[in-house]
Symmetry: C2
Subunit: 253 residues, 2 copies
């Protein structure tokens, strides 16, 4: 019997994301963090496999964090680490890991340095320095730190701060072999290409072929996106897609 395929196991690194916040679920705030996290992960070959958006309710945060950290290589959370009563992510993550939480001397020092000469270190602001025991800080130039515990990275909901945290975190992660992709613009609707595209997908099982319809000047068209981890495999599938598209276009002028 063969050994498990070590290369394949190494190649595929996965992630899940938990977005925390009533304001996203009420529609008041439109999330911008999922797309950013997805793009940064894709660049380094980490496959984002599942996102859950949950309200500011401790048991739902705990449930989502525990479900995703057991299932995926890395987990990222956004939101709920500010100073107000509705910021409960740090406590929920501590609960999910079954560890204590308290003011962290490293985070308190950062808070004091940030506030020095500008504002007092009060109880509410100190709340932002509550970090679960055993966590490492994710430090950023433009905000209070997030933290990493186990495979869970806890980040701010404010997009500029989340982006800084992702920039700090990405170099520390075990990445995978990045997916490379190519887009073929078929100037015809999905209904004309779908059957043959499905056959091409079957003939190239190491690729993932997606089909994204759009309208241009009142006419249906389709972006076909082919993804693979290997350039030769990608090129072979793309050649088949391009030949099929050229043929469909010629037959349906």
């Amino acid at each position: 019997m063969a050994e498990p395929d070590h290369e394949t196991a190494d190649d595929v690194v996965t992630a899940g994301m938990v977005v925390i916040g009533d304001e996203i679920l009420s529609g008041r705030t439109k999330d911008k963090n999922i797309g950013h996290v997805a793009e940064r992960l894709t660049e380094v070959g980490i496959d984002l496999r599942e996102v859950r958006i949950v309200p500011d309710i401790e048991e739902m945060i705990v449930e989502a964090v525990n479900a995703l950290r057991a299932r995926w290589t890395h987990v990222f959370t956004s939101g709920g680490i500010g100073p107000t009563h509705d910021d409960i992510t740090a406590d929920a993550v501590a609960k999910a890991f079954g560890v204590g939480i308290d003011h962290d001397p490293r985070a308190v020092a950062i808070l004091k340095a940030r506030l020095a000469g500008r504002a007092e270190v009060n109880e509410a602001r100190l709340r932002m320095a509550r970090i679960p025991f055993g966590a490492e800080l994710i430090e950023v130039p433009n905000g209070m730190p997030g933290f990493r515990i186990g495979n869970v990275h806890v980040m701010a909901g404010v997009p500029a701060v989340l982006e800084a945290m992702m920039a700090a975190v990405i170099p520390t992660l075990k990445g995978g072999r990045p997916m490379i992709s190519a887009t073929i613009d078929a100037q015809r609707g999905e209904g004309l290409i779908a059957t043959r595209l499905g056959e091409i997908q079957k003939a190239h099982p190491a690729t993932v072929i997606g089909s994204y319809p759009y309208e241009r000047d009142g006419r249906y068209a389709t972006n076909i996106v082919v993804r693979a981890r290997d350039a030769a495999i990608l090129a072979a599938a793309c050649a088949d897609v391009e030949a099929m598209v050229a043929d469909v276009q010629a037959r349906n002028p």
Copy 2:
């Protein structure tokens, strides 16, 4: 012993959403449907409580649909109902409900009417007329129909079509007593208001008070959003928030 509070049970109507699509998880496409569904539901008093984004993998769609339909009053899905091989939502929902699926005569008739004189009814296009047994169609003027089965509403991923489907579905839903909300703009950072805001939240348990920091002209400020289902309860909490904000602003010029 008192009867269960019938009014309260009637007042709270919940929803979950499943977004299906590799293109959202890769970052290639930025989702616009969650915010739209959230806004439309909030308007009619339905609380969106949980969203899951999953890839084009049948078992993950089945798992998410089954988890959410058992938990929330209504479920909405977006994506994966087109004609290509990666459109597997209808089959996955049929599997989740344990029912069969086949070309639906009502959907086939709609397809033929849409294509009449423009294009042939081929195998791929007929795929869009596959509807689980027992489902009702969600008809729209600008696309093929979605469908409702049990408490699950299956909708397109293309935002214009999803929006038309939501417009068709909303009048058919049992809504709740809408949340009403008021926003108070505190011209100070969260660190100055958080402790007293937490006390106000405790004193007004029938409200949900959210705190959303932002920066204006390099100075921190906070939008405080108070939500409740009752106007008098909302007004009482807002009065306390406004008095607190005025006091904090006066003490911290």
